[in-house]
Amino acid sequence: MVIDMINDDFKTLGNTETSNKVVMSVKNCNVFYGDNQALNDINIEVGRSEVLALIGPSGCGKSTFLRCLNRLNDTIDSCRVSGKIHLEEEDIYSGEIDVVMLRARVGMVFQKPNPFPKSIYDNVAYGPKIHGITTSKEELDELVEVSLEKAGLLDEVKDRLHTPGTALSGGQQQRLCIARAIAIKPDVILMDEPCSALDPIATEKIEDLINELKENYAIVMVTHSMSQAARVSQRAAYFHLGNLIEVNDTEKIFNDPEHELTKNYISGRTG
């Protein structure tokens, strides 16, 4: 029955365009794992200074889509991507932009905090070091401090910058990963269920942080929590079985969804 519903109106409902300045745009994106199609003709835009929430039941392709945006799917041998994804003017899959450059400009925060088994300082300094962003020790020190500050972690760790990052609590580790991502000043930050491994208090802190960060970055966030999507996002996209069903302002999606499937999901009947 669900399949029928998708087939009835294959076209994505709502408004795939953003009212803000477009940072990334996705056109006719298809993803295959071997012979299985994981994403089906996705069209969407990501705008500056907004949080785009990707919602939908498990296995619907949200994370796969997120990983297309910084080509992290490249690491999976059997994965194939077609269609056009642009970061500003450049097509990220055509070779116009180098994958290293792409990932420097599109940062990512993962589901489970994954600090490197190094010191807090080295975790944040890792990106700037590999890209050669800073030229002196002082500059690097400053960049690390600023990034930790922006991630709201500096006060908690400033007297133990050289202790292992893995010794922090889960919420702190996740903020460390955010600091690590923003240290290379990306345009876009991708977040793959950043709070799913955290307790409510740590979650709140991260949500506050996302609210602040969106002023300077475009944020695309996968979330399983409807309430979280409602709290932090400006626009929301509903995925179902590899199809993008509906995109719109968060308010519109939650209060007046156009598609039956979205309605079912929002009201808790599927998912």
Partner: protein
């Protein structure tokens, strides 16, 4: 006699098994209930028969020889009984050889034939005692067990605890083997240190274990300073590690991070073949191919390289441990969680940057553990060095010299005909003890590091 006893024991055991099983079936038919399946009662009763018999036979095997020998010595004439221990042992050996029917020196004293007969008679007597006592003892305990068989007796639980004990015993053997190694080597080594000073052995700079044949011969003491052997062992192992660690590690990295399935499918079996080649074959390869090649290359470059150079041996040993290093590193590298890699790629790091700056530092303890294990293998390796390394102990760290190793000396000292008690053979055990303690230490540390590392990511 023993073949006979064993046949009797087996036949009786089988009989008891079926007899008791039948009995238990009868009980089940009468009372309509039996706690365990009938065969458990069969096993139960046969165990009760077998175990006491086997214990008696075991005691016999352990004590009979020394008991008969001491009775034999008591029976000997006084002038022989009072000989010094060494000579007495020789006489006793003659008697025993004669008794068994070997060619022996039957003229060492008059009455030796009588003594041999006496020895045989004693043995026959004891054999008889053991034969009957083990059967009677077994039958007694069996009778007891047979009487306990009833419908409520828990034979299965008894059998299961017996198996439990057996399994436990098997596991405990590991301790006995370690203890056996340690004690046997330690015991002989201590006898060596009675003759040769411990610190002279450990710190002495020259090694020439030729003992005098006659007392008072020049240089009769022999020199037992093991430092040149340690140095040679370390030199060869070091050359091996210098070759094997980079190649093994890079191979592991390439296979786990870069190679596609096809390359992996070809390379992994090749490494497995390399690791399966017996060391004696590597030794032959070293002698016949590598050593001449190195010597010819040397003379081409104007270097005089010994045909048993540490370089050649070390290289071949290095080839031998490449698969070890690579498979241990592979395990360690693939246990670094995928999220670490993604975190790094997500920041725009290239593959090699990720490997060098994230994966290797994270895997470092495990890799060090692996290298220590490889080092321990290289140090204890015997056949390659026995076949391709030098024999004379030269204290040198020059890789183109011929040096000797601890294992080479153990083999040299213990092959050929020698008296077992001479310091020369005992020295082999002192070397063995050193080798055992050192490799044990390395293995212990290495396994600890590796285990700790695994726990970190589990």
């Amino acid at each position: 006699m023993f073949n006979y006893l064993f046949v009797v024991l087996i036949v009786v055991t089988i009989f008891i098994y079926f007899y008791s099983k039948k009995y238990s079936i009868k009980i089940r038919n009468q009372s309509g209930y039996l706690h365990s399946l009938p065969q458990y009662y069969g096993f139960y009763a046969s165990l009760w028969f077998l175990i006491p018999s086997l214990i008696i036979i075991g005691l016999y095997l352990i004590f009979a020889e020394s008991f008969v020998t001491s009775t034999l010595i008591k029976s000997l004439p006084n002038n022989i009984k009072n000989l010094p221990v060494n000579e007495l042992n020789l006489v006793v050996n003659d008697i025993k050889n004669l008794a068994v029917g070997n060619i022996a020196n039957s003229s060492s004293f008059t009455g030796i034939n009588e003594a041999a007969n006496f020895y045989n008679e004693q043995y026959e007597l004891i054999d008889k005692v053991v034969f009957y006592s083990s059967l009677i003892m077994g039958l007694l305990t069996f009778t007891y067990a047979y009487k306990t068989i009833s419908s409520s007796y828990r034979a299965r639980n008894f059998i299961e605890s017996a198996i439990h004990i057996l399994l436990f015993g098997s596991a405990v053997i590991a301790i006995f083997v370690t203890a056996g190694i340690l004690l046997s080597v330690l015991f002989e080594a201590l006898r060596f240190f009675d003759v040769i000073n411990f610190s002279e052995f450990l710190f002495g700079l020259s090694w020439s274990p030729q003992m005098a044949i006659r007392e008072g011969q020049v240089g009769s003491s022999g020199l037992f300073g093991a430092v040149p052997l340690f140095a040679g062992t370390i030199l060869i192992s070091l050359i091996a590690l210098i070759l094997a660690v980079p190649i093994g590690l890079l191979t592991a990295i390439y296979l786990s991070e870069y190679a596609d399935t096809k390359v992996r499918a070809i390379t992994k079996p090749i490494l497995e073949i390399l690791s399966g080649i017996p060391t004696v074959v590597y030794g032959f390869f070293a002698v016949i191919t590598v050593a001449p090649f190195i010597r010819n290359t040397g003379s081409f470059l104007g270097l005089d390289i010994a045909s048993e150079s540490a370089l050649g041996v070390g290289l071949v040993m290095g080839i031998m441990i490449i698969p070890l290093v690579s498979s241990l590193s592979d395990d360690v590298i693939s246990s670094v969680p995928q999220s670490m890699r993604e975190g790094s790629y997500g920041l725009g790091a290239t593959k090699s940057e990720t490997i060098k700056k994230v994966i290797l530092p994270a895997a470092l303890p495990g890799i060090i553990g692996g290298i220590l294990l490889a080092a321990s293998r290289a140090i204890g390796e015997t056949m390659i060095v026995v076949m391709a390394a030098g024999l004379s102990a030269k204290l040198s760290f020059n890789p183109i010299d011929a040096v000797t190793t601890v294992t080479v000396q153990i083999v040299t000292l213990l092959t050929g005909d020698q008296e077992f008690d001479s310091p020369k053979t005992l020295a082999a055990f002192a070397l063995g003890l050193t080798l055992f303690v050192f490799t044990l230490f390395l293995n212990f540390i290495a396994l600890k590091i590796v285990r700790k590392y695994r726990e970190q990511y589990e």
